[in-house]
Symmetry: C2
Subunit: 212 residues, 2 copies
């Protein structure tokens, strides 16, 4: 990737990637920007603009080569590499992540869970062991860990994050309902379910007002 | 709310709401845009612009009245009303939603879960019953349901969504990894964990490239 692609385009790439992988599953080898636009419910010109950002994948009158485009986006997104994930917190959210079948298929491999609950420690989820949170430093010393998924209450998040930072974690997938204060070299992606629900609440109210 | 507030501002409101509720918990009654900007890690001018959108809450040299601002944003977001939620799918994600302690505190009340698994039907999560998915029409006929949270695999999502649409559901909180094709009067909010993970992957790769 020579040129820096804008964050707005990057935000849309996972969705392109998803649609292209569905096309591949359906055995579709090429698609016009128009047909893709209908599927994805965005304009064809938006699609052409976006895809022009990372090279020549379309031919006038032919459309896009689905596999080439899929492979290129996969590479841009770093999905051609494996990512090893540990999950901090073996509650429902942590277990949901460990069990999600699609993650592994896309190279995101959960290797361990950590918890404080003695009833959980020593057990396993889908064969993935649950360790004592106290064993985290030793574990990270001996295994490659690319991403720590944080699925613990916000009150406990700060301490664990400090520990992870000291252990040189590279990326945090944060489900705790708090904005993490992290060194700039650590990548963070927040999933704030309460914010999502609040957005839903606003849109419900707004729709009622429109219809009212 | 007289004027229509831009979607960009609306997207930021849940975060304001979260920080204001934390200030209230800490017993802080007023705060300057500058202090709030430090906490929230955005510029003070952004905060002043955003908050100006919905009325007069700041006084020169005094700052914002935290409780008034909190109440106003709560009202704008529709969080002064109760929302009744059913969860379709009593797997880990469905159970995580049913157990989340903060949702109920903010007026989001999970009243029932639905599943196809005979081992789950008849059981309860935190006192919330798990029903047979076949009982959904009868349930919605007899109870107020504002939001259906969809935590089932994408292959089953389409059929269930058709059923929910026929039952006049108003809003869907979609965790299934598929874009739902819905009538425009139905509010939808997607939580696509795979897209979030993909974003993380891209940012990890990009940081590695920057660091050379």
């Amino acid at each position: 990737m020579q040129e820096k692609i804008s964050q707005a385009v990057i935000r849309r790439l996972p969705r392109y990637y998803r649609y292209l992988s569905e096309l591949l599953e359906e055995g579709i080898e090429r698609i016009s920007s128009k047909d893709l636009s209908v599927r994805m419910n965005v304009t064809a010109s938006q699609i052409r603009q976006d895809i022009n950002n990372f090279g020549e994948f379309g031919l006038q009158g032919y459309g896009y080569n689905v596999r080439d485009l899929y492979q290129e986006i996969k590479k841009i997104l770093g999905l051609d590499q494996k990512h090893y994930i540990i999950v901090i917190g073996a509650g429902n959210m942590g277990r949901a992540i460990a069990k999600y079948p699609n993650f592994e298929k896309n190279g995101f491999i959960v290797t361990a869970l950590f918890d404080v609950d003695p009833d959980l420690i020593g057990k396993a989820i889908r064969g993935i062991p649950i360790y004592d949170i106290g064993d985290l430093p030793q574990y990270m010393d001996r295994h490659r860990v690319d991403i720590a998924a944080l699925t613990i209450p916000k009150d406990n998040a700060k301490e664990i994050v400090e520990c992870l930072v000291n252990l040189n974690i590279g990326a945090i997938w944060n489900f705790a309902y708090v904005d993490l204060d992290l060194p700039s070299n650590i990548v963070v992606e927040n999933v704030h379910l309460s914010d999502s629900l609040t957005q839903l609440s606003y849109n419900i109210l707004n729709r009622r007002n429109e219809q009212g």
